[in-house]
Symmetry: T
Subunit: 147 residues, 12 copies
Amino acid sequence: MKKLLVIHGPNLNMLGLREPGHYGSENLESINASIADEAKKYAWKVDIFQSNTEGAIVDKIQGCIGNADCIIINPAAYTHTSVAIRDALLAVAIPVIEVHLSNIHKREEFRKKSLIADIAVGQICGFGALGYRLAIQAASEHLDGAS
Amino acid sequence: MKKLLVIHGPNLNMLGLREPGHYGSENLESINASIADEAKKYAWKVDIFQSNTEGAIVDKIQGCIGNADCIIINPAAYTHTSVAIRDALLAVAIPVIEVHLSNIHKREEFRKKSLIADIAVGQICGFGALGYRLAIQAASEHLDGAS
Amino acid sequence: MKKLLVIHGPNLNMLGLREPGHYGSENLESINASIADEAKKYAWKVDIFQSNTEGAIVDKIQGCIGNADCIIINPAAYTHTSVAIRDALLAVAIPVIEVHLSNIHKREEFRKKSLIADIAVGQICGFGALGYRLAIQAASEHLDGAS
Amino acid sequence: MKKLLVIHGPNLNMLGLREPGHYGSENLESINASIADEAKKYAWKVDIFQSNTEGAIVDKIQGCIGNADCIIINPAAYTHTSVAIRDALLAVAIPVIEVHLSNIHKREEFRKKSLIADIAVGQICGFGALGYRLAIQAASEHLDGAS
Amino acid sequence: MKKLLVIHGPNLNMLGLREPGHYGSENLESINASIADEAKKYAWKVDIFQSNTEGAIVDKIQGCIGNADCIIINPAAYTHTSVAIRDALLAVAIPVIEVHLSNIHKREEFRKKSLIADIAVGQICGFGALGYRLAIQAASEHLDGAS
Amino acid sequence: MKKLLVIHGPNLNMLGLREPGHYGSENLESINASIADEAKKYAWKVDIFQSNTEGAIVDKIQGCIGNADCIIINPAAYTHTSVAIRDALLAVAIPVIEVHLSNIHKREEFRKKSLIADIAVGQICGFGALGYRLAIQAASEHLDGAS
Amino acid sequence: MKKLLVIHGPNLNMLGLREPGHYGSENLESINASIADEAKKYAWKVDIFQSNTEGAIVDKIQGCIGNADCIIINPAAYTHTSVAIRDALLAVAIPVIEVHLSNIHKREEFRKKSLIADIAVGQICGFGALGYRLAIQAASEHLDGAS
Amino acid sequence: MKKLLVIHGPNLNMLGLREPGHYGSENLESINASIADEAKKYAWKVDIFQSNTEGAIVDKIQGCIGNADCIIINPAAYTHTSVAIRDALLAVAIPVIEVHLSNIHKREEFRKKSLIADIAVGQICGFGALGYRLAIQAASEHLDGAS
Amino acid sequence: MKKLLVIHGPNLNMLGLREPGHYGSENLESINASIADEAKKYAWKVDIFQSNTEGAIVDKIQGCIGNADCIIINPAAYTHTSVAIRDALLAVAIPVIEVHLSNIHKREEFRKKSLIADIAVGQICGFGALGYRLAIQAASEHLDGAS
Amino acid sequence: MKKLLVIHGPNLNMLGLREPGHYGSENLESINASIADEAKKYAWKVDIFQSNTEGAIVDKIQGCIGNADCIIINPAAYTHTSVAIRDALLAVAIPVIEVHLSNIHKREEFRKKSLIADIAVGQICGFGALGYRLAIQAASEHLDGAS
Amino acid sequence: MKKLLVIHGPNLNMLGLREPGHYGSENLESINASIADEAKKYAWKVDIFQSNTEGAIVDKIQGCIGNADCIIINPAAYTHTSVAIRDALLAVAIPVIEVHLSNIHKREEFRKKSLIADIAVGQICGFGALGYRLAIQAASEHLDGAS
Amino acid sequence: MKKLLVIHGPNLNMLGLREPGHYGSENLESINASIADEAKKYAWKVDIFQSNTEGAIVDKIQGCIGNADCIIINPAAYTHTSVAIRDALLAVAIPVIEVHLSNIHKREEFRKKSLIADIAVGQICGFGALGYRLAIQAASEHLDGAS
């Protein structure tokens, strides 16, 4: 059974409360439930983690060596500012899929630059919570195809 | 029954022949077959179009008024240079999903700028031919949810 | 009797349908009729052409050597991306007037750069379909004054 | 009877004397006469003002609240440097048409940036003194159409 | 009794009339009255000046040598374009506090650069007319503390 | 009774010790005491928080939903680098006032960019500890006026 | 017998007519004749193609798989704007030599950037029609040497 | 007898008072006296003008047609911001020599750009009041040599 | 006996596991042992600290006032993004030496900018673990020489 | 008999030894021999010069007034940094052809800028030693055609 | 008797021969003679040096410690590229005056940047050979005044 | 016995005389003596070279093929401007260590860019003459470790 680590970056615990125009009205619990359901379909064991602290996310990523076959990460604000998370992902050398709820290309200029995108397998953005489920499907089909 | 227009930009007819390191070894016919299969699952009627000519793609987009509920487009090279395709998509005002086979963030600097991304619902890149199937799923679930 | 070539760039055939907030609700047929009327007032023979294809516009411009005394062009999206149209206009060396329906300075940053403006006699933007009629008047009075 | 304010920016009082290669050989008196004639055709009452002082132009614009239905302005050198004139035009909230005698796109790089263009209805440049008459016509037809 | 010079830059005489979304609906007379009241509390003699002309503001600043212990300035549009006002403030070497009614960071890109900010004691923006009263308090407490 | 959250960013616990040329010689305890005094004048209940960790500040901001009517924040170093704090402030949608002890416009180039300024009501900088007291006054008068 | 594809980009059919200052007074027919002569010397079978349409050039390049050992291309205006032609050349993976009649470094700034140069074997510019003949010689000697 | 116009820009009336570190301790009266003396040596009739207002300097320059053979200008702050003064100098087409008291290359970045330098005969900076006397000598010898 | 604080930034705890091409195959424990040995040679008491959290590193730096005579820091990813660590180092005002295992000039563009370098005594990069030992030697000889 | 000066810039004496991936394995002597042969074919008298010192190359260029009808130069590293060589070439006003062994567009960003290209007749790059022979042919045919 | 070192940079030995449009028709011998005459007037002993080699100029500057009271330098091409000459001038710490024959602000963009200007006392450009004589006068009067 | 080449760039022969604030008060002879001592410790044969001429440094580097196992270079001013020295180092393909006496990150903006750094093994800056000794140690331990 393959293991999947899903990481939600800062402020994603505010979903539902936070700017529904950008992020939709679903809350994180409900998204996590649908992630768990989707993972079950593809027979992945899933570990879901959220933190507002850059260093805690780095710690979590480091800890998944030997414990994850794929990382799905929505780095949220840290997408644009964290070299440390980039370096942690490089260090563990596990395939990464980047997900964003909103279409980051429609927003402030600084949200267009991702420090993760060029080290990820691929990127999905703009489809809300569905993005995570598409990413799980991609993890299963695409990464399998690669092995 | 909803109607879907899938547009492949320039040089995508060379798939399989062209730079397998970036684009994989599957050819366009086989990709189109899997698109057709996936569309069937979601009960979409699908029209697939490929052209190397910017103006022909503009013509095709214009022609889909009243004939499409969603456009999935992989603008390929025109992603980075075509304001005309952007304007055609704005003119028909049909939801658009942008797909790229390769992870455009891993390549030449000029491939990082998309003239389509900020007018699309969302963007999927880096998962090869699977990206089209994820886009069909997104069209079905996400756009439905929006209506 | 002097001869005038009027060129409409890509997506202008969508006028009336397309983003009325930017381009108004008049369609291209009605605009062309008013162009014909205005041309008659100034005793110009007028040839009107629209295409979505950059190369077809280049072909048309090349073909007007000996067949046009002035070109009025609304290059639309190609304003910002086409060196080929610029080169065709330089090659035929016929006076050019650039027209835009919308005020291009109010829109996306990339619409502020025109590859045609510095080789045109002048530029008129922001007045909708009236812009073409002003351009015909300019062609008559101003270019006459120059000869 | 509608009221029109025409503003000539710095050094336009030197017309005829000043760089005929860029600005033509007609002097300001003769241009003002043709403006007055054109205004009469469209039944506008016209007030014409020239100053070399940025603050004086700001004062004049402020003074036209209740006294003008449209402003035609050739801000000349202040096009590129005056936020104060921009702010005055925003403050009075009267439709503005920007006119330039020369084609500003053919000249020094710094003349390409206009601090007025994105708050104007439209812009006419490159047709010499005729530009003012075209602007009056635009004021009449286009602004009427808008009301 | 200490002396305070308050300078209002161009178009601030239009307050109340001008863009209430940015500047509020209070007019300059009423603001000046509240400035006078506040100054009285802190026992400052206050001189208030408004002009639309850069040179007149320079003249006024020069004239306050020996006549002012502090300058509170809202340079409005000249914030972003006037080296002359900057130089005048440097020349008189009197402590300066910069005030803006609106939050200049929420507006056009060019309003983010201030030619005064780095030579002022401090800057207050975004609080409307209250900003002047806070500045007077700062002048009293902070500048006193410095002496 | 209204509730105020005051947030001090990284290294502000070093005040008094740290670079007195930029930040003055008062320490954080004494500043907090004067904040408490000022808040009492305006009948605000005040909660004061300092942390060196970006994520801890994000946590604190998130926690103030329902517990604060206004946030006064001096994000210190995070002013220039934290999209996460920006996003947290957007998520809780409580009015924010930005304060800086030093005049950030007099220092390194990178200190001139604030990721908070354009989402705050206003900004006060350069007046040392007095800045917080002015901000409390602004919170009371200005925000009241807005309600 | 090796096969050579020579591609002339947009407006090169206007040679002789077009800006002789930049491009010389020889027309395309005469240039093509000298290309044919030179190719004969080196025992190349030569196919010469000109089009004003980007997509048609892409089509032509794609069609030369198995039909060309070397491509000599003067992309003219598309040198600076066409990612699609670049991608087609990458897709067919045939050695490319880039030729320009004029010295592109002496002209407008935007003509200095070539989207083809870094994927070509080499570049020859500034020698007029002779450039094609030098390129044929390079194709013969240099590419032979490489095999 | 040749006629010389000497123009001092904004804040130069503050010399002696103003930042002696940059501008020396001599006042404008004494500098003007030495200018008059030097002009006498070379048999120039000299007219000296100072203003803080951009428009007044433009007026003065315009007025010297027929009244000056050379203009020596220290545009001070307007060096860096005034297109209007540049245009006035172009309009009168009289040889111009640019003088700065301080070495503008040692100061703020924005002082390095001169809007006058490329239309002047030459520039002298960094020698304090002596610069004017050198400029008069240059006007006499160099401009004479040119006629 | 002098006291030395050695700080390892984020992901340095992954050494040996992490990208050996960039960072070598030695792990952190072994590096720390060699640091301890080297410190002993120069009679320094050494305190070694690693954290993935920016705020924790700031806390540690603050804590060393009175407890350290020199700081050797390899800020890793925070080199390029942390103003907070810079500010902490400025606050404690203890001499700092910056070390990088890899040659940061050979890597991604964003790794070339250090927010620490201009406030450090000096920088050593590219020599792997040896860099720390060189830094200790520099701390001993160079800083001693300075006292 | 016409005279040709061939100049090899710095490090070209290392050919064969130096980075064969970029420059091929032929050494300078052998290249010079083939240059001499080719020159003989076209009846040019040839003078070949190599130096690592910018000033020595400037001296050599200056010395060829009256001694050369054409200069073929491979400025190597000085292509990108030497205004002095550019000025020497401008001073002697002899036609120049620029040659590079490698395709400079495939290498470091700074190698794309040539300080010579816009003052040369033309440029040949990417064909190794053959480039010099093509340049001699261009010198003969093209420059002859120009006389 | 004070000692003056005059340095002429690369290609100035070509004066008279070289681009008279930019540099005039006088040759270096004649300029040096007038420099010697002028120096005599002010009782300076003068040493004049020209070289095309950056390092030779550096050597010369170093050698003048104890042998020069002032350096007048026209660094020509090295103005824009030589940090070594800048460093040599800083090392000897003798007052420097920068002279250019032509008005460098009227020429290529890269000639506007001087690596010497901000470490010189002042700069004189655009007056041809007269510039050296003005510089000698400045050396005498201005530098004397400073001592 | 391994051989070491130490290269000192321009103006380093002025050490002790030159700007002691940046470079310390030790002279080059004394530094060279300590280099010789240190080299002896590690059993390196050392050759030390200083020149102010870029080309002479290039010559020296070329000459060390077969004569050096490591180059320690302080390119001084040429760090920022010399592609020729970079190319020479690439040509000889001997490991290079870059040393700077001063901390180049604390100085002018242009000193932050090194054309050598990305081709060196590593860089040491800011420790004065000690930097050379650290570099010798690095050459011995680190380069040995690599073989």
